[in-house]
Symmetry: C2
Subunit: 196 residues, 2 copies
Amino acid sequence: MKLLEEKILAEGIAESDSILKVDSFINHQIDPALMKQLGEEIAAHFTGKGITRVATIESSGIAPALMTAAALGVPLVILKKQPSKILNQDLYQTVVTSYTKGVSYELTVSSHFMNENDHVLIVDDFLANGEAATGAIRLIRKSHATIAGMAVLIEKTFQPGREKLTEQGIDVFALARIAKLEPGMIQFVEENICQN
Amino acid sequence: MKLLEEKILAEGIAESDSILKVDSFINHQIDPALMKQLGEEIAAHFTGKGITRVATIESSGIAPALMTAAALGVPLVILKKQPSKILNQDLYQTVVTSYTKGVSYELTVSSHFMNENDHVLIVDDFLANGEAATGAIRLIRKSHATIAGMAVLIEKTFQPGREKLTEQGIDVFALARIAKLEPGMIQFVEENICQN
């Protein structure tokens, strides 16, 4: 059993067949020591891949992304949800529509912090429908940077996020993979792990 | 010259007599190694004060607050800007009005993550008019927790934030104190520093 899976079993709350509350250590309250370990685990998976920057969408991905960037020794770029007030040629923008939440927002990044020389690792807390993730990928590609992969703390494998990303050639890495949720029950994807 | 002041002189941009852009290492792009050092500096100032939790307002304070919480070895609680959809007796709420931005928002915290046994250090990126900070203080006091202090990366001393907080008995600690801004010019508060 992996570190994050143990924590989810101990403190996560399955509220329905789609909602997992991890408020006590990821979303509302953050356990910094755990987050540092998770960032190091993500960094270890992507080490040697030539990553120049980590990117995340504000704001729930900031903590794991910061710890990953710290472990990789590269800057973190926060893709901003606010629209630019002034049309600015230094700014890339894309519209992200969340069908689950019924809202649209503009995602922006400055060309000063992302360009054709970058190889970018995207980090977020959850991967579910992949709406935010595909928006981030579109935005990063607008800046002419390449994408090293997408790392998330928790993947809901019963939603189509991973499929959308792998179809685009994105390497998806999740620290905890949820197979099924029911009120009071959390089931992980079983994986064969070979250890020495 | 302190670490953060050197970075501000090297990369900060004074856009007007009130706006300092620090997009390249604090707000849009984050330098994780620098942020870790700044978090450790804040933690060192408040060490031994019995802090049980660090709090910040989403989202620009998350990075320095996370690094401070990591250095202090305590959890980080993110005070959420979203209103609660369901009236919930487990949730404390307060309305914060930003006169500078012309907006109001609800700040919320769950009683699960802040209570009468807590002694809380608030961490944010900027202290200017102190509107968000006084909202955070009000909210934390609603939870019956006590406040150990307010730490910020950058203080604009020509705006009334510090005065508002010290009037309420709050210990304010700033890593860089800006005395004056003009387009192209950044002046820090001169302090007598005794070093061995």
